[in-house]
Symmetry: C2
Subunit: 232 residues, 2 copies
DNA sequence: GCTTGGCCTTGATCTGCGTCAAGCGGGCTG
DNA sequence: CAGCCCGCTTGACGCAGATCAAGGCCAAGC
């Protein structure tokens, strides 16, 4: 299970832009961590261990309300980073993180990262870019949750998640209940919404994890809230 | 209406940390812009003019859905920055901005800011900090909208907004309908919720813009969703 | 003074989605 | 193989909050 740290970093958008020399320096400060499926990586309120880069597997970042309801903020897939926010802003973890499946991460510990940042301008610029993407993504999620209804959210997610835009089938890389939580729906509502989209011919359900988009333009209209709820 | 740019920058968290010399350099690249009440500053999808710092007045940052529903992401009060995200991430404005009242802003145009960033490490570090605060704030807003009910959101907002935590009255610095939009409520629901909070003695309504928190601990419980909806 | 137009409040009604409950199927373990 | 667990689906029902409608209040303009 040896993980080549540099190989992971070079595939990650934030570190790809660095010179090879600098990337080697960063890699030298990093350690690898492995987590079996289901294991908690850190919890809300704990001091932040550092910046994580997912090498393989998937990590779920989520919050839990005192009432017990939980919300998935983000799924970190390979080459995506998480927890950098707390490192840079100097506060405790603002959410929980858990391995969805067996996962290997590269960890750059807080103090070492801060030290690298102080002396390294190129790294700073890269992280600025990474942070702005985070903000944009959060604004998008907020927009979904606040401005769209259930079918709008599902439609938009399908369009975002399908790289081929309907030419081929694509696989949902997570459990439906987790996707439902991310979109602030119950799994029941997600199930019903997908069924209606399939019944009206906008998508095709191949099996419980695979879909194909049949009418991208109409789905786009649903995502924008332009069609009536029954997508007549 | 002459505005001292340096004076504005030194009161702004992002620029306060800079050396006087560097701050003067930044100030030299900045221009001032004035906007009468109600004027649009920029719209979603436009190229981003640069980083704005509010010198006086208030700016509303908001999104509009195709259905017409709008959502207030943020109120920028004096010394707060906005639109830095689009500059740093190199994309178009992700939202609309409008002057809530007569407003003066300091604007550091996109190209000049990028140039300053390239050559200036200290500025980079400050902006990283600023961005992480943005992320944290957005996560907090998302948490409110997704995990709390109407009374929870209102209670939490009151607690966050009242600096004296109930020792003195405090004034709502915005219209109620804008606050309602920010919390993803209708103004009707906000109105009813405030009334119930007042009826049960948790807050006191002094007039339509002023409140006093009477029972901070109980209000905290409501914010956490621990009390039943009627706060018995 | 009167009128107009925003903003706010309050009551009555409606509805999208959550909640509860039951049933299905597929994968794991013994 | 049986038995179990867990994720998913489907239906019936309920509720928080949206929507609709009406009225009060205050400031600006004539």
């Amino acid at each position: 299970m040896a993980v080549d740290v540099e190989r992971t970093l070079v595939r990650c958008p934030v570190f790809r832009g660095l010179s090879g020399e600098l990337r080697a320096l960063v890699a030298g400060e990093a350690v690898t961590r492995t987590f079996p499926k289901g294991q908690r990586i850190f919890s809300e309120g704990e001091p932040c261990p550092g910046l994580y880069v997912v090498a393989s597997g998937v990590v779920r970042i989520f919050q839990i309300a005192p009432t017990g309801k939980s919300h998935v903020l983000h799924f970190a897939e390979p080459c995506r980073t998480f927890a950098e926010v707390a490192v840079l802003g100097d506060f405790d973890c603002p959410a929980h993180a858990e391995a969805v499946e067996d996962t290997v991460c590269v960890l750059i510990p807080t103090q070492r990262l801060k030290h690298l940042l102080e002396t390294n301008h190129q790294l700073c610029l890269q992280l600025l870019q990474g942070m702005s993407l985070w903000v944009r993504q959060l604004v998008g999620l907020l927009e979904d949750v606040v401005l769209r209804d259930a079918s709008g959210r599902v439609a938009r997610h399908l369009l975002k998640a399908d790289p081929s835009a309907g030419r081929s089938a694509f696989i949902l890389p997570m459990l439906k209940k987790d996707l439902a939580s991310h979109l602030n729906l119950t799994s029941e509502t997600l199930s019903r919404t997908l069924r209606r989209l399939a019944e009206t011919g906008l998508i095709e359900v191949i099996d419980h994890q695979q879909f194909r988009i049949l009418q991208p333009a109409a789905l786009q209209d649903v995502a924008q809230g332009l069609l009536p709820a029954e997508f007549a």
